[in-house]
Symmetry: C2
Subunit: 176 residues, 2 copies
C-alpha cells in the first residue's frame, strides 16, 4: 500500500505559517551553514502531493510564480472552487480523507500531504497519516497557523529517526 | 551569571499537561526500553527550582505526596497565597521575572524553570530563559495546557544539541 506522509516544517511553538500565512521564517539558524537536502531526497519517494487551496495559492503567487514547482508529480488541490484540472494539477471538491483513500488504492510511490491545517487535521484524526516527517525550525514564532489544532484525539507515535542540520531537527514518526 | 533553564517535556503538539493537568502520558514509546536518565544529570546542574502553585500542588498531592522531591535544592513557589516558607520551599507573591532576576544575582548553580505556563510565558517574553531544554514526547495529545501561548513575540533560537531515547527527543536551544 502507498504510504501517506505528512512532510512539513513547524516552529518550536507549533506553527506552520505566521499570522499572514508567510513562511519566510522557515530557515535554519545560519545562512552560511551547509544544509542537508533532505527535501530533495524525500521528493524522490513520492509521486503525488495533496494540498489545500491556500497552500496552492501561496505556491503560485509567492513561492514560485513563474513555474509550477511539482512538475514531476501529480498534485491534488482540494478546494470548493470549480477550476479546470490539467495533467499535473487536479482540482477536487472531495474531502481530504476521500482524496487520500482513493489515492492509496492506486499503485505508485508515496503520497505527500503538504498542507495546510484544514487538510491535515481530518487526516490525522482519522488515522490516515502513515508517517509524520516534521522539521522543527529553531524559532518561537509567537503566533500563526498551527499544525496541530485541539481536537481531543490522542495519538501515540513511535520515533523512527531524527537528524539535525543548521539548527533544524527532523523528527520522523509512525503511528504506534 | 547563573543560567536560567527551562527544562520541560511537551507532547508533539506542544502541550505540557492534558486538560485535567495530568502528566501520565509523559512516558516514551515503550515501558521496556532502557531510558537515558538525563533528568538526574540535569538535576546535578541546578540548585534552585522555580514553579507556580499548580505545579507545586500537583507534586505534593499527586506525584509525590509522601516526600518533597526537591530536597537538594531551594524551591520558589510563586502564588498569591500567603503560606509559611521553610528552608527548602519558599512561597513568594513576586512576579516570575522578579523572582528570576533576584535569583540570577545570587551565586550558585543553574536555576530551573519547572512550570507551569503562567510562570514560563513572561520569562520567555522577557528574554529571561538562557537555555531551552525541551523533551518531545512521541504523542499527539489533542488538547491540554500549552507550553507556548500565542503572544506575537518571535524569538530566534540556536540548537545546541539533540538526543533521543525511547522515542523521546531532547532539543536543547539557546537564544540566538
Amino acid at each position: 500500500m502507498r504510504k501517506v506522509i505528512l512532510f512539513i516544517a513547524i516552529s518550536l511553538d507549533g506553527f506552520i505559517a505566521d499570522q499572514n500565512g508567510k513562511v519566510d521564517w522557515l530557515n535554519g539558524q545560519s545562512d552560511h551553514e551547509e544544509t542537508l537536502d533532505s527535501c530533495s531526497a524525500f521528493m524522490e519517494t513520492v509521486d503525488t502531493v495533496i494540498m489545500g487551496w491556500n497552500t496552492y495559492h501561496q505556491i503560485i503567487t509567492e513561492l514560485s510564480p513563474d513555474q509550477w514547482i511539482y512538475q514531476n508529480m501529480t498534485s491534488y488541490v482540494i478546494t470548493h472552487r470549480e477550476l479546470p484540472s490539467t495533467d499535473t494539477i487536479r482540482f477536487t471538491q472531495s474531502d481530504p480523507c476521500n482524496v487520500v483513500r482513493t489515492q492509496k488504492r492506486k499503485t505508485g510511490k508515496g503520497i505527500w500531504i503538504c498542507g495546510g491545517g484544514t487538510i491535515i487535521q481530518p487526516l490525522i484524526r482519522n488515522g490516515l497519516i502513515d508517517e509524520y516527517y516534521i522539521s522543527v525550525i529553531p524559532t518561537i514564532l509567537g503566533a500563526g497557523i498551527r499544525l496541530f489544532e485541539e481536537n481531543n484525539t490522542e495519538i501515540k507515535l513511535k520515533l523512527s529517526r531524527t537528524q539535525s542540520y543548521n539548527g533544524i531537527t527532523e523528527l520522523v514518526y509512525t503511528p504506534r
